[in-house]
């Protein structure tokens, strides 16, 4: 039973890392889109 905790931990850690990375991608995308709109307005 104790070993199953490690299995769950490994699976959760994997998706946590992917989730954090996708979160940073989304954040960077929204920042760049905002910047892109600002540049468009200035022109």
């Amino acid at each position: 039973m104790n070993a199953v905790k490690f299995l769950i931990a490994a699976y959760v850690a994997t998706w946590l890392i992917h989730g954090i990375y996708i979160g940073t991608l989304v954040r960077r995308f929204s920042r760049l889109r905002r910047e892109s709109k600002d540049i468009g307005k200035q022109k």
């Binding site: 490690f6 931990a9 892109s36």
Partner: protein
Amino acid sequence: MKRLFPILSVITAIFLAYALYEALVVAPTDAQQGDVYRIIYYHVPSAWTAFLLFFINFIASIQYLASKKPSSQTAVKWIVIVIGVVGVIACFLPPVQRLIPAGMRPSAVATTVLAIPLFYFVIGKYFPGDNLDVLAVTSAEVGVVFCTIVLVTGPIWARPVWGIWWAPGDIRLTSTLVLWLIYVSYLMLRRFSNSAQTQMLAAALAIFGALDVPLVYFSIWFFRTQHPQPVIGGGGSMDPRMLNVLLISWMAFLCFAFLVCWQRYRLELLHREIEAAHAMDSLVGSGVAAKASLPLSRSPQ
């Protein structure tokens, strides 16, 4: 293309859910390790995906460096062809076969060697000019994410099986950590350097960094290590049902990696477009300022 991404995302999500079901329910329990061995279905596919992405980064970096000097481009192209042809033939010659570690199939080595020219020409065809550099940074960043998963899930698996989180001095573990550090430094170089030579320096670092990938892979054969033998390419043995689930899991992770790379690639293109727009703005601004600061006697009539 905008419609394709949501469709592919749904398909990948279903595929990942199916792979999870196969890993947790369908795959048989290991006689020695019990259920904890199922970490293999995330640990190994993540490692293979990271290696593949670092390999793409390696090829894109070579292409990028070669593209900066047209005279060397032809030479590199021929070197790659020679590596592919000679490498594949050599793998089946008895003197070379004797050098291949016991348990490793020559066909596995030949396939890997053949991937070099194949990837070189495919990447060169579909990613011209500076897009090679965009591909390089994309593959390195996503590769680091997958390598991080390998380094996190490995100790979680080692603890109940080996009784320790980390085996200090173990060549497989250490070389994987070094590989991760090399690519993290590659990303740091790209993030914090503003020099005009950054892309060239990063490409050179990537080529040297990629040399660690074969060391990580072959370390099992050449050195005494606590890490188990590989499950494909010879050397290890695995229940066919387990191997089947492992391959399904890898395919699912490859689809996922493809989607993430796609978005990261788009992000990098957008970032460069904005940087170019800012550079243009500042050039125009400085041009106006320069005109304004001209002495009246020298100002254009």
